[in-house]
């Protein structure tokens, strides 16, 4: 099993932040300990991924899905993490919903991407000229601000 763990690691700053959030104020965490923790984390990802992959394969699935990760957690003795997963899944469903809404809006507009881009340029042009008019002659009466 190829593991490019030398090339890919976790961002040290992020790991440091998590450590700082967790440890009591009078305790310090040496750099070497942080690096040891990072190594353990990479191992954890590998373990969880391998187990999830085996579960997916046993179900004849070619893609590792969320439910495979959840099952893997239980099988590896991390069942206590499963409750926190629901929040992540809900968040993901929201993101998918928003994306689908955006796509539908695009499809329902009846315009091609080119036409939409042209419309956008027109609006930018209008805004630009308004801006230029205002900056050239400040004594001129200001047009009413557009309401949102």
């Amino acid at each position: 099993m190829e593991r490019d763990s030398d090339d890919l690691s976790l961002p040290k700053a992020t790991v440091q932040k998590v450590i700082s959030e967790v440890i009591p104020s009078f305790v310090s965490f040496s750099k070497e300990s942080r690096d040891a923790v990072i190594e353990c984390c990479i191992e954890f990802i590998g373990l969880l991924t391998t187990q999830a992959n085996e579960i997916a394969e046993s179900e004849s699935k070619k893609t590792i899905g969320g439910e495979h990760v959840m099952k893997a957690l239980k099988e590896l003795g991390f069942a206590e993490y499963v409750d926190s997963m629901d929040e992540v899944i809900e968040e993901h469903k929201e993101i998918v919903k928003i994306r689908e809404r955006k796509n539908t809006k695009f499809q329902e507009s009846g315009l091609t991407e080119e036409e939409l881009l042209r419309k956008q340029e027109e609006l930018f042009g209008l805004a630009r000229s308004k801006l230029n008019n205002v900056s050239q002659d400040p004594s001129q009466e200001q047009p009413p601000a557009p309401s949102t």
Binding site: L8, F29, A36, V37, C41, I45, I64, F78
Partner: protein, 93 residues
């Protein structure tokens, strides 16, 4: 042992890359690295807390790799980390 959630999150794209660094791993649904990321957060907090506990038990204020090693040795959940921690020195008694 209190279990907290971190405010900081891990980049999902990076987690996905690490998952797929293994040749055996094929396609991964979008939600999968998000779940792995959350699990990782909980795991890291757990390991760090266990390491701090080991240091405090010894009356040490600075957590060293040896304390992380002790945390691994004393927790069944962390059995899979025994090999990786082997190379680190033990805490001198």
């Amino acid at each position: 042992m209190s279990r907290k959630e971190a405010k900081t999150k891990f980049p999902v794209a990076r987690i996905k890359k690490i998952m797929q660094a293994d040749d055996e791993i094929g396609k991964v649904a979008q939600v999968a690295p998000m779940l792995v990321s959350k699990s990782l957060e909980l795991f890291m907090i757990s390991l760090v807390q266990a390491s701090v506990d080991q240091a405090q038990e010894k009356g040490h204020r600075k957590v060293l790799p040896g304390h992380v090693k002790l945390a691994v040795e004393n927790n069944e959940q962390f059995d899979f980390l025994a090999d990786v921690m082997e190379k680190y020195p033990n805490i001198a008694d």
